[in-house]
């Protein structure tokens, strides 16, 4: 804090200046007045002196006494101020006295010497102004300065004590407030103007504090809100620019799509014309390939025939070859086994002779005894069968009869029942008729007895018949069993006969065979040596055959191979042509179908082209709108940013105020 700026200092300073000015004015005035009085006094004195001298000079004329005058002038000249005195009477200077060389700065005073009313001479006194006393002035000044300083100090003390301090605290508080400390409380309780000011200031600070607090919070909120808004807007701008970009991309893509679609349409149309050409070409091709297919089919069947012929040939060649191989090996085997046979044949000859004898004997035994007994057995069995059969028939007849008896019995039973009922009814009637029915009741009783008897005997007959039937059934069963057993026995006997006959036949045959074997064995031995020689020749021949057949087989195999490859390729060709024909047809159909589809696509593409154009137009409009929106949003954003900045400034300013804790 600068002293200069202090109100009290300034005030005191100004008061002092005013005092100084006043004092100096007073001082100057007093000084000038002092000078004037001095001058006046001097002039008065001088004139008094001059008058005195003049009076004395006048008195000389009469008395001629110059002493007095002399004395007078002498006394006068001692005055410091008087430089010279000159008394002239008539033209004659009476006295002339001077103190010192005359100074230029002296003044002259002339006083006439009056004798009566006649002027006789003049007294001239030159005098000079005596200079004021510097010491006196200085002293005066110093004194005055001291007084002034004391006064100043006193004023300062007084002011400082009573007003200055208050003002100072006031100003300090204000300064603090100015610096932003609103927590300040001015503590001046005095009831003067300053106190009022302090109170008012307090009130103002309080209000300011509240306001600033509000402002602070508001600005804080606003700032936050605005920064939020700013952020949001930045996002919005980003979003919008993104949208704009994507819209541009979409637009570009749609344009591209449109372009490519145009291309597609052109291509489709081209394709359409091309495929139409294709269809006609394919139709031709189809006809041609069908023709080819048919001719290839013919060719193929021919080749197949020849193939099968060759295959047959090959097969037979192979067979021949394998058979030749087999033959070779067989001949080999044969030649070895023939040797073995030769050896065993000789052994066999011996055994054959023995067995021939044995079989001869066996045949005789079988023929004489076995066959005779079998024939007897068969005859006996046949007789048994006949008798059993007749027995069965008789039993069956008996069974039929017993069933007839049963029928008769049931009829009898019915009759008995009827009779019983009749007797009951008769009894009822007899009872109901009373006395008249008594004789009738006897009849009824008789009837009842009869029926009861009949019923009893019927029951007996029935039991007898059923027993009989049971027995017949048992007899029949056993007869059937016998028949079965007889048949079985018969069968066994017949079988035995057959077996014996076969044995006989076989033994007869074996006897014959033994004889012929005996004969053949001898011949065989002879033949075997011949065979042995022949086998050797055969073996050689077969080897030759084998060689040739091998060659043939190889040739036919290669032929078959080439034919089969031809056949395969022909079949493949046929299949291919068939397939081609088929697929050509298929392709033609498909192409026709696809032609239709292509035409549809072309139509649809043209339609879509229109739609695309509309889309592009719409997109462009949207883009223009978007750009405008972006601009607007940017403007708003800028505005918000500036608002934000302003609010920030405001907030900073508000933050200068120390508001303490809220």
């Amino acid at each position: 804090m600068k002293i200069k700026k202090k109100l009290s200092t300034t005030f005191i300073f100004r008061v002092l200046i005013i005092l100084l000015i006043g004092q100096s004015f007073i001082w100057y005035w007093s000084f000038s007045r002092h000078n004037i009085t001095i001058e006046d006094d001097l002039r008065e004195r001088i004139s008094l002196v001059s008058t005195l001298i003049a009076n004395a000079a006048a008195a000389i004329n009469t008395s001629q006494d110059y002493t007095y005058i002399e004395q007078l002038t002498e006394g006068a000249i001692k005055d410091k101020n008087i430089v010279s005195i000159e008394v002239t009477k008539g033209s004659k200077s009476l006295i002339r006295k001077s103190q010192a060389p005359e100074e230029m700065a002296s003044q002259k005073m002339e006083t006439p010497i009056m004798e009566g009313d006649k002027k006789t001479g003049t007294v001239t006194i030159t005098y000079k102004q005596v200079k004021p006393d510097t010491v006196f002035i200085l002293t005066n000044l110093i004194l005055q300065g001291i007084v002034f300083l004391v006064l100043t100090f006193l004023i300062y003390l007084f002011f400082q004590r009573h007003i200055g301090r208050q003002i100072e605290s006031l100003s300090a508080s204000i300064e603090k407030v100015t610096l932003g400390d609103l927590t300040q409380k001015i503590e001046i309780a005095e009831d003067n103007e300053i106190g009022i000011i302090a109170k008012g200031l307090d009130f103002l600070i309080e209000r300011l504090l509240i306001t600033v607090r509000k402002l602070k919070s508001i600005t804080g909120n606003v700032s936050a809100a605005i920064s939020q808004l700013n952020l949001t807007f930045k996002n919005v701008i980003n979003g919008i620019s993104n949208r704009q970009r994507s819209l541009e991309e979409i637009s570009r893509a749609v344009k591209n799509a449109s372009g490519s679609q145009k291309q597609t349409i052109a291509n489709t149309e081209k394709l359409l014309s091309l495929s139409n050409d294709n269809v006609s070409a394919l139709l031709e091709m189809r006809a041609a390939s069908e023709e080819i297919a048919s001719s290839i089919g013919n060719l193929n069947s021919n080749i197949s025939d020849s193939y099968s012929a060759v295959a047959g040939l090959t097969q037979s060649a192979q067979k021949v070859a394998s058979m030749a191989d087999n033959a070779t090996s067989a001949v080999h085997k044969a030649s070895t086994s023939i040797e073995e046979i030769n050896a065993s044949v000789k052994e066999a000859e011996k055994t054959i002779k023995e067995s021939a004898e044995l079989s001869n004997r066996t045949t005789n035994i079988i023929a004489e005894k076995g066959m005779l007994s079998v024939v007897d057995a068969i005859e006996g069995m046949e007789r048994i069968e006949d008798s059993v059969n007749s027995l069965t028939e008789a039993i069956e007849r008996l069974g039929r009869r017993s069933r007839d008896i049963e029928k008769i019995l049931s009829v009898i039973k019915d009759v008995t029942e009827q009779t019983g009922m009749l007797s009951l009814n008769a009894q009822i009637l007899a009872v109901q008729a009373g006395e008249h029915g008594k004789s009738f009741s006897i009849v009824a009783d008789e009837m009842r007895n009869l029926s009861e008897k009949t019923a009893a005997s019927t029951q007996d007959i029935a039991t007898i018949v059923s027993t009989l039937q049971k027995e017949i059934r048992e007899a029949m069963d056993s007869t059937m069993e016998t028949v079965r057993m007889v048949e079985e026995g018969n069968h066994v006997v017949l079988k035995t006969g057959d077996a014996l006959r076969e044995i006989l036949h076989a033994s007869q045959k074996s006897t014959q065979m033994a004889a012929s074997i005996e004969h053949a064995a001898a011949q065989q031995a002879k033949g075997l040596s011949l065979i042995f020689n022949a086998v050797d020749d055969i073996q050689n021949m077969i080897l030759d055959v084998n060689r040739t057949t091998g060659q043939q087989e190889r040739d036919t195999a290669s032929l078959l191979e080439s034919i089969s490859s031809i056949k395969e390729s022909m079949e493949a060709a046929r299949n291919a042509t068939d397939k081609q024909a088929e697929s050509t047809g298929f392709i033609t159909d498909n192409i026709e179908l696809s032609n239709g589809k292509t035409a549809e696509i072309a139509r649809a593409s043209t339609e879509q082209q229109k739609v695309n154009r509309q889309i592009i137009e719409a997109m462009e409009e949207v883009m223009v709108i978007g750009k405008e929106t972006t601009r607007n949003v940017k403007e708003v954003s800028l505005f918000i940013t500036s608002l934000h900045n302003e609010v920030e400034v405001l907030r900073k300013e508000v933050e200068v105020f120390r508001t303490g804790t809220l």
Binding site: G420, M421, L424, N425, Q427, I428, V431, Q432, E452, A455
Partner: protein
Amino acid sequence: MKYTIFDIADENFGIEIQWVVEILKPQKLFKIPELPDFVSGVISVRGEIIPVIDLRIRFGITEKAGKQRVVLIRLEEAKVGLLVDNVTDIAEISKEKISKPPKLFKGFRAEFIKGLGQEHSYVGTKTSNSNRVIIILDIERILTSEEKIKLKRSRGKLKNEKVNPHGRESVRRRLKKDKK
């Protein structure tokens, strides 16, 4: 008093002979929709249509019988056939031999039963029981009065009613006699 004895499920039943008209072999039973439910059907006896009540059903016996007989009785004014298993004989049972039945008797409804008759030294056709008990049925109670009315109505519908006023009177007289 003489009784007509018949079997149902091996039990001997007897009814007073004066009610009985005739014993018949089973005939074709005609089922007629309009008949009351306790009537099994009708039979034709010499051109006369007669309703038949199956006593087995009446007594709540369900098993089948081997043989069947129809006991034709005269009930009030008309003839009614009772379907039973077999009619065995006509027997004389003196009054001293008839005792009152217990309240519940072998599952049959006691209201049908008039009494139990005992017969010694009996020689039947089939059974040789020397001692048999005969359940004597109260023929008038076999049908309730309601059923009798129903039967009468259905008879009216069938138009085969043959009124016999004497028969009715005589029945009443006999009933009075019995009560004495």
